[in-house]
């Protein structure tokens, strides 16, 4: 296992203690995980690592939330799990099978679904075609899933012939989420699925995510709506500087004063809960 990189300045000692604690937690809990990543070191440019030995696991049927400051590497982590960012070191396994640096489409076949944070629709395709892409590998399922998705987001049904490029930010987000729901995966990776949605639809997304999860799909979601995210997830990770700073159950993290100070803030705290 790679050591904590000297990347961080300040509270180094505290951090490295924290990191080794996290390492142990990871080692202890990761057995039997459907998806696990060990010591991921990955980055976009040669020589610049964004992930510094990141660990993560997700047990079957678990809903895992990832939160963290901007630029912490949350999206990079999801992308590297999904083979879209080159992993320099470490490994990713799906049900015990090594899938490190595998092509994204084979991972889809293997049962992973992914909603990226940005650029998550096909602008020149219509809504319907966007959704069709969601079940590209199983076109037969299209009608049934399509009905399901349009039930969830009726707007998508009304505008099925509108090109996604002309949709509003929130509508795009619906399409992106809808596309992921089309494919019926075993593990679903969501990168800020609620961003840009109206409050009621945000809630809806969380509820649906929960429902999907309850139906047996393991979900790993990155969220900035930490309040909601930690409410619904079984377990959460706080990512900082490319590695896990804290992990624990959603409730534990939400109440952890360090997490609140570093990351959650107190905005709206009085009203919520």
């Amino acid at each position: 296992m790679a050591e904590a990189t000297p990347h961080d300045s300040g509270r180094d000692a505290e951090r490295s203690a924290n990191f080794s604690e996290e390492n142990q937690k990871h080692a202890a809990g990761a057995d039997g995980a459907v998806l696990r990543a060990d010591g991921l070191i990955a980055g976009y440019l040669p020589g610049v690592n964004i992930l510094n030995s990141a660990d993560l696991y997700c047990q079957p049927g678990e809903l895992v939330g990832i939160i963290g400051p901007n630029g912490a590497g949350k999206s990079t982590l999801l992308k590297s799990l999904f083979g879209l960012v080159k992993i320099h070191e470490g490994s990713v396994t799906l049900k015990g099978q090594d899938i490190t640096n595998q092509r994204a489409d084979t991972l889809v076949t293997a049962g992973i679904g992914f909603v990226p944070q940005t650029n998550n629709v096909f602008p020149s395709l219509t809504i319907e075609e966007n959704l069709e892409m969601g079940c590209y590998q199983e076109p037969k399922k299209f009608q049934q899933r399509f009905d399901f998705v349009t039930d969830l987001f009726p707007r998508l049904g009304e505008r099925r012939k509108q090109r996604a490029g002309s949709l509003s930010g929130g509508e795009r987000q619906m399409v992106a989420m809808g596309r992921a729901l089309m494919m019926d995966p075993q593990v679903l990776l969501l990168d800020e699925p609620s961003a840009g949605l109206s409050p009621v639809l945000q809630d809806e997304v969380f509820v649906q995510t929960r429902n999907i999860n309850k139906a047996g799909v393991s979900v790993i979601m990155v969220e900035q709506n930490a309040k909601r995210c930690l409410q619904i997830c079984d377990r959460g990770y706080v990512l900082d500087h490319g590695r896990t700073a804290y992990s624990g159950t959603g409730k534990a993290l939400a109440d952890d004063p360090k997490v609140i100070e570093l990351y959650l803030g107190t905005l709206g705290a009085k009203k919520a809960s």
């Binding site: 990226p116 602008p123 075609e129 069709e132």
Partner: protein, 445 residues
């Protein structure tokens, strides 16, 4: 089919022969009805032979009937107005008058020696600047009828048909280009060479392997498809994997084009060559327009292939997958599309279509190592005009470009630069619709 035109031509000629003397006779009601040039025929030598040394020659032919006019007297004077000699046309309508050397001479035709009913179109004198040691000829036009100009509508239709044919040929290549662009965003400057490839493949199949042209075309399309496969496998895919930017790829395509073009020249030589069949075919008349069989064949093949491809792309998932890959390859992969597979099939399909375009062009005209390169700009113009990356746009653009290319000269565009018309229209249309005819504007914000 050649026979039919022959029959037509002879029929027309026969009609003219029948009609002309009658009108001529009625027109020239001579007061002194001397018997039809008996004097002329008696004085006419049976056969003049060209003299040694320099001479001035005249050939008198009635161009309305193609009949030579014998017995006409011609007088040659030199610059000082001294008479040099005189000659009388023979039964072939020819007369030769020796001259002492080079210089300016004047030839005068004695009008009264002309047979009745025959009139000169111009004056009776000609100045000849004799440069040649042998014959220096002058001409007295006879019976050159004012050419009844072909009606505009007829010329328009002919040009239109030519334009459609050309547009369809471009269209195949444009569709190929558009597919490749639409999927990979690559502005492929080596696309012209893919056209040439198809043509050369046809030629090789036809001439070297002795296949009949039709089979050679089929084989060429197959070979082209294979060429597309190889290209993607060994060039474009490794480039994509390396994460090379789109501009760099464009420059690679310029280099690749250069490379291919001169490899073609190396192997094929610099000259034009033709296939073994269908080289010359006269046109058949179809009422409003006429077409040679091969042209009809080209039009039909192109239309069928274009329709099948377009409808196929609309109906099958490949069409959508292509657009998806073009929009966002990473997201396509995340949706479970085999991005490389889609791009590979697009290269295969695009190159095959382009190869067919080259093959048809080879039938329509000839095979040359630069033929595709010379066409490239028009293909680009077509694709752009219709809206980059849109399939129907490529076709529409091609038809517009093709038609303008051929019809333009009717509207005053000098035919030596007939591209200009098409290109100007391209620019004008882009001014009105910056996203191309079928392209859609993008949303801001």
């Amino acid at each position: 089919m050649r026979r039919t035109t022959h029959v037509l031509v002879t029929a027309v000629l026969a009609l003219m022969v029948l009609l002309l003397p009658a009108t001529a006779a009625s027109a020239t009601e001579d007061p002194s009805p001397a018997p039809a040039s008996p004097s002329a025929s008696t004085t006419a030598p049976t056969q003049n032979t060209p003299p040694q040394g320099a001479f001035i020659g005249v050939t008198l032919v009635d161009s309305s009937t193609d009949d030579p006019i014998p017995g006409v007297t011609l007088v040659v004077t030199d610059a000082d107005k001294t008479e040099i000699g005189e000659g009388v046309t023979d039964t072939d309508g020819r007369a030769f008058i020796s001259i002492p050397g080079q210089g300016e001479y004047t030839v005068e035709l004695e009008e009264d020696t002309l047979p009745d009913g025959i009139e000169l179109n111009g004056s009776t004198t000609r100045t000849v600047n004799a440069l040649l040691d042998g014959g220096n000829f002058a001409q007295f036009q006879i019976g050159v009828a004012e050419q009844a100009s072909v009606p505009f509508s007829e010329r328009f239709i002919t040009a239109l048909v030519g334009g459609i044919k050309f547009g369809l040929i471009i269209g195949l290549a444009a569709l190929g280009l558009s597919l490749i662009f639409g999927t990979t965003k690559l502005t492929n400057f080596s696309h012209g060479e893919l056209i040439t490839f198809g043509a050369i493949a046809t030629y090789v199949m036809n001439r070297a392997f002795g296949l009949p042209v039709i089979l050679a075309v089929v084989a060429a399309v197959v070979v082209s498809a294979g060429f597309g496969w190889l290209q993607d496998k060994f060039l474009w895919k490794p480039l994509r994997n390396k994460g090379i930017g789109i501009i760099a790829m464009m420059i690679v395509s310029i280099g690749f084009g250069l490379f291919l073009r001169f490899v073609f020249q190396f192997g094929f030589g610099g000259s034009r060559r033709s296939l073994s069949q269908y080289v010359t075919q006269p046109r058949k008349d179809y009422g409003f327009f006429s077409l040679a069989d091969k042209e009809a064949g080209i039009i039909i093949v192109a239309i069928v292939v274009l329709t099948v491809t377009c409808v196929g792309l609309m109906k099958t998932r490949l069409g959508k997958a292509m657009r998806a890959v073009s929009d966002n390859p990473a997201l396509s992969a995340s949706s479970g599309l085999r991005v490389d597979g889609v791009i590979r099939s697009v290269w295969v399909l695009g190159t095959a279509l382009t190869g067919l375009s080259g093959a048809l062009l080879a039938i329509n005209s000839q095979v040359n190592f630069q033929m595709g390169f010379k066409l490239l700009l028009l293909v680009f113009a077509a694709v752009t005009l219709g809206g980059l990356g849109t399939i129907w746009g490529a076709l529409l653009g091609s038809m517009i470009i093709g038609i303008l290319y051929e019809v333009g000269p009717l509207f005053g565009i000098p035919s030596s630069i007939k591209e200009v018309g098409a290109l100007v229209v391209l620019i004008l249309i882009l001014l009105v619709r910056p996203q191309g005819i079928l392209g859609r504007p993008e949303r801001i914000g």
